[in-house]
């Protein structure tokens, strides 16, 4: 039986750099740069930089 090939996209977790523990979950292409974006953190009630970590 042929082994299952890896998926095209991968699910990643973007964690808040304000160290609140709040995170967003998204997808990105397996071959691609690490995700980072400025998103809203409700624990600090402000827009904060979110960096990707492995899910």
């Amino acid at each position: 039986m042929a082994s299952k090939s890896k998926a095209r996209t991968v699910i990643v977790r973007m964690v808040s750099s304000a160290k609140t523990g709040y995170f967003y979950t998204t997808q990105r292409l397996r071959i691609g740069p690490k995700l980072s974006a400025v998103k809203y953190d409700p624990r600090v009630k402000a827009r904060v930089l979110f960096m990707e970590t492995k899910k």
Binding site: S17, A18, I31, G32, P33, V38, R43, A46, R47
Partner: protein, 192 residues
């Protein structure tokens, strides 16, 4: 007025035998306390008080209203301390408008011992919760670590605006050109 009447009736009823028995006795007449249970010496059984707790509470309320607390016997609804303070205030104010001249308002000794109430376990400390315990609740973990966590957050947020500005300036460069996405090169597969 009605309160005073009620107390007067109570006194007349209870002290009836004592008053008629020895009118010129110098010592205070002894009267069995109608607010306390009594033990029958022959049968050894306890008879309940002549006045139920509900009626005792009513009498106490009426006595408070008409300033005649010192005329009531001690009981579960009226402590010895309260009676003492009432008696002292009565003697302090004197016989201004009080009916202390009347026959039924004489000083009387009430027979019968009032059982002492069990001390509430936490009375000395002021709270029942920690009455017999060695340690107090030290707080939830999240309460204990809260300050440290908030301090970390505050530090992280200090330079956040600068970081965001830096990020916005640089992030476009970092996205690779979609036209030039490299093929996945596997070094285990041979090309032939």
């Amino acid at each position: 007025m009605a309160a005073l009447q009620a107390i007067k009736q109570f006194r007349l009823k209870e002290l009836a035998t004592a008053l008629t028995a020895a009118p010129e006795a110098t010592t205070r007449p002894k009267v069995p306390n109608p607010f306390l249970p009594r033990k029958n010496p022959e049968s050894g059984r306890w008879a309940p008080p002549k006045y139920s707790l509900r009626r005792q509470a009513e009498l106490v309320k009426l006595a408070r209203a008409s300033n005649t607390l010192h005329l009531l016997p001690p009981g579960l609804k009226l402590g010895v301390q309260q009676l003492a303070t009432a008696a002292s205030t009565q003697s302090a104010t004197g016989t201004s408008a009080s009916p202390s001249e009347e026959v039924w308002a004489q000083d009387v000794e009430w027979e019968g011992e009032l059982k002492k109430k069990k001390a509430v376990p936490g009375a000395e400390i002021g709270s029942k919760l920690y009455a017999g315990r060695r340690r107090m609740f030290k707080g939830h973990k999240w309460e204990r670590t809260r300050e440290a966590r908030e301090e970390e957050r505050r530090k992280a947020m200090e330079h956040m605006s600068k970081r965001i500005v830096g990020f916005k300036a640089s992030y476009r460069r970092k996205i690779p050109n979609p036209a030039s996405i490299p093929q996945a090169t596997s070094y285990t597969k041979l090309p032939f």
